[in-house]
């Protein structure tokens, strides 16, 4: 679906374009933060990890800029219909993207605590999981930029893969801890990394659901979404 952008009041279009540009930039930064945090984790690169933590401030600043612009646009332009839905979605999407940035920062902060653990076998799996999550975040934001409801639906379906990864990593790490009790602390950190990645996937789904709402005016049907993730807590009870 093409982005229609031809209001009689041209300044309205300019505001909308600026808003979309800011959200795009913010999404790009969050995606980059995730990839850098995971690279730092796998290589034990403390400088890169510190940079991710520093750069998170820029994501936060973009969030408040989008909030201001959205409130201003609602007040001055009284947007209706799809324009109104876009404003509401923009507010929700940036708060979700900000959370994704926070999770990346959280992962980066753990790098310094895990110097001894490069050999843990779960790490390569976490790297694969993170690239899927980064793709989901990327596609969710692409679907917003392109007003593509079908792409948004596909993002929610693909989140199932992330959940499968999480459940598998959970089992791997629990086994690893039982076999190597001296690495329990490090393994616990990796468990949190996996959980953070799983949450980022959920947030990509949230973005996709907002995009669906912007484009269609309807909320995504339950059946169109991917299945709910098997929670780690539930997993623990079973095991």
């Amino acid at each position: 679906m093409a982005v229609v952008n031809d209001h009689t009041v041209k300044a309205f279009d300019e505001d909308l374009n600026r808003l979309r540009g800011l959200i795009s930039e913010m999404g790009g930064r969050a995606e980059q933060a995730l990839l850098q945090a995971m690279t730092a984790l796998s290589k034990g690169d403390l400088d890169l990890a510190a940079q991710v933590v520093r750069d998170d401030k820029k994501i936060d600043a973009l969030e408040s800029e989008v909030e201001q612009l959205t409130v201003q646009t609602i007040a001055l332009r009284a947007p209706m219909a799809d324009d109104l839905r876009e404003m509401i979605a923009a507010l929700k999407i940036v708060s979700v993207v900000e959370r994704i940035g926070d999770y990346a920062k959280n992962i980066a902060k753990r790098v310094a605590l895990m110097d001894q653990t490069r050999s843990i076998e779960a790490i390569p799996v976490l790297m694969s999981m993170s690239s899927i999550v980064a793709e989901l975040v990327h596609d969710a934001l692409d679907s917003f930029a392109a007003r593509d409801a079908e792409l948004a639906v596909r993002v929610t379906v693909r989140d199932k893969n992330v959940d499968d990864f999480y459940n598998s990593i959970f089992r791997t790490l629990v086994t690893f801890m039982m076999e190597n009790p001296k690495y329990i602390t490090e393994s616990a950190h990796l468990l949190f990394v996996a959980k953070n990645l799983e949450r980022m996937g959920d947030h990509a789904t949230n973005i996709a659901e907002m995009v669906y709402y912007v484009v269609t005016g309807d909320h995504m049907e339950e059946r169109e979404r991917g299945e709910q993730p098997e929670d780690g807590a539930a997993e623990q009870e079973q095991g």
Binding site: V4, D6, H7, T8, V9, F12, A78, P79, M80, A81, D82, D83, L84, R85, G217, D218
Partner: protein, 260 residues
Amino acid sequence: MTQDDLTIADPKMKAHGVNVFYGEKQAIKDVSIDVGTDLVTAFIGPSGCGKSTFLRSLNRMNDTVASARVTGQIELDGDDIYAPSMDVVQLRARVGMVFQKPNPFPKSIYDNVGYGPRIHGLAPSKADLDVIVERALVRAGLWDEVKDRLGESGTALSGGQQQRLCIARAIAVDPEVILMDEPCSALDPIATAKIEELIHELRGKYAIVIVTHNMQQAARVSQRTAFFHLGTLVEYGKTTDIFTNPKQERTKDYITGRYG
């Protein structure tokens, strides 16, 4: 367009397949719509879309235009208002109208409101008329502002007060339907807010239809919105749906400011 939850349980007025012509030119094409007492209906659309023409056909105001011709069915409580037996003066008392520009008679405030009830024989005595005038002015939210100067000329009031006087005048003959043709377009925001509050108060007592160019106003005062374009009824629906998720592309383009 017609969904079950859009059905009006006990419509006061029913229009079916209405066409309005000015000479050769067709201004309204096959419009069907019901108007109820519990819901305020707003007509929106660009200039020249026919919304005022259609409004004016609901109390035969178009009869005053020599070239105007109406076909189709418009009923008030089940009676065809274009039937030869319909008394037009009586019809316009039952279906009152408020216009864009406040147009009080050049008479006292009291007489502005009392004139209609007097000529329609609703007030046998002066005391009865006093009661009717006061009640109408109270309902129109004007009583407190004018009760001490009922003998002053209606034209001496402010624009917003004059418009509320015109609403009081319409109410005084105890109508069943009130048609409002851009009632706030000549008023400042405060006077506009008072009229909108009044519309809210009057809802349920009268069937109200309002034509407005101000979409925020339509969104604020109405429960049902009809979008007209080029003489056709493009979309009719719940006001909340029309302004958050219109089904028709033309409606969306208009309400989001992309029309043209």
